[in-house]
Amino acid sequence: MSALLELDSNAGEGDGRLELAPGLGKWTTEEDLRAARIDLRRQIARMERELGELFATTFPRLGIEWNVGAAGGPRVLGIDELSATRDALANRLAEARAEIARRADHEQSNRELVERMIADPAEYRWVRVRNEDVGEPGCKHWHSRPKWGIIGMFLGWWRVKLSSGCPLATG
């Protein structure tokens, strides 16, 4: 099938047989081209499903690019356009997965930081970790701060305070 992806879909039209891209040196029929298009459509469908699942599992993380672009339509796309769509989907999937893996590492280290902060707040004075930093929705944050304000600061009474969530909407 990979050879079929190299076909020049405009070559040899009119006699029912189409010439392969230079170098492949043999002829094929419209049936072969259709089979190649069907196979590419199947690949696009599979990648679109994977992208949709990734999109759903990634929420609420922001700033990940999901757009793939299109050849323009509505019309029946040729092999080269279907290949371009398939490749764009594959690239987008790879980039999204890499970005999510990078963020997952970062979020894991932040979760470990929160655990260390709770175990020893004085070691992490004034450190603040937001929900967003650990890949969760909402406005909650962990903040290492002194108990009783300035008195606690002088006496070394530090604690991790958990905020109560998002501020109320104002009229």
Partner: protein
């Protein structure tokens, strides 16, 4: 309208397209009324639907089978579903932006209910401006869409009657072919693609028609 299967009329698909898209099909249903003001029952129905359909459902939509099937088909025909959303995703985006499904008119509200409940792509035409049977076909050389300057690019996919194109497939409607305030008969049209069961399409048409005629008790 007691049998959804008999109620939905089968449209044809050009043979060149059935080879490429074996799952592509078209169904239509005639409703003996036009649009008009939305009823109180319909507004309540939209409010209930707004409560049922929130952020989590919107996020998970792409991975549900029917919306996914339309997204895939959009990619297959050169449309970007993120730039030109599928019908169900377009309504979902509006729901998120406006905080609910905002009542508009009877036809639009009926389509909203049916599309959100089923995920199926529905649209409507003025039945008195449609000549003969509907089909999905590629445009012919030099053919245009009423109300749009110039000819369409060759082989643009269309919904057409026996005389002329009515709309681009999943795109603009020809001028004067859509439903307007003087419309007295509405033709509801559903486009099914591979992965969308026919029963879902028939029920979507059934649901939209019920909403318009008030037979659902709303």
């Amino acid at each position: 309208m007691s049998d959804p299967e008999a109620f939905a009329v089968r449209g044809s698909v050009d043979p060149s397209l059935t080879d490429e898209f074996p799952g592509l099909y078209l169904r239509s249903a005639l409703v003996e009324r036009g649009s008009g003001r939305s009823t109180r029952g319909m507004k309540q129905r939209l409010a209930i639907l707004s409560d049922r359909f929130g952020g989590p459902q919107a996020i998970a939509m792409r991975s549900r089978p029917i919306p996914w099937a339309y997204r895939v088909f959009f990619r297959h025909i050169g449309l970007d579903p993120d730039e030109q959303p599928t019908p169900v995703e377009a309504l979902t985006l509006e729901r998120m932006k406006k905080g609910g499904f905002v009542p508009s008119n009877l036809l639009d509200d009926a389509l909203t209910v049916a599309i959100i409940e089923s995920g199926v792509a529905l649209r409507a035409f003025d039945a008195d401006r449609v000549q003969g049977a509907l089909s999905i076909r590629p445009s012919m050389e030099g053919e245009g869409l009423e109300g749009r300057p110039g000819a369409l690019p060759d082989a643009t996919l269309l919904i057409a009657d026996e005389l002329r194109p009515l709309a681009l497939l999943f795109g603009a409607t020809a001028a004067e072919r859509g439903v307007h305030p003087r419309t007295t008969r509405t033709l509801l049209v559903a486009v099914g693609v591979s992965g969308v069961p026919e029963i879902a399409v028939e029920e979507a048409l059934w649901l939209a028609a019920e909403c318009m005629t008030g037979e659902s008790g709303s």
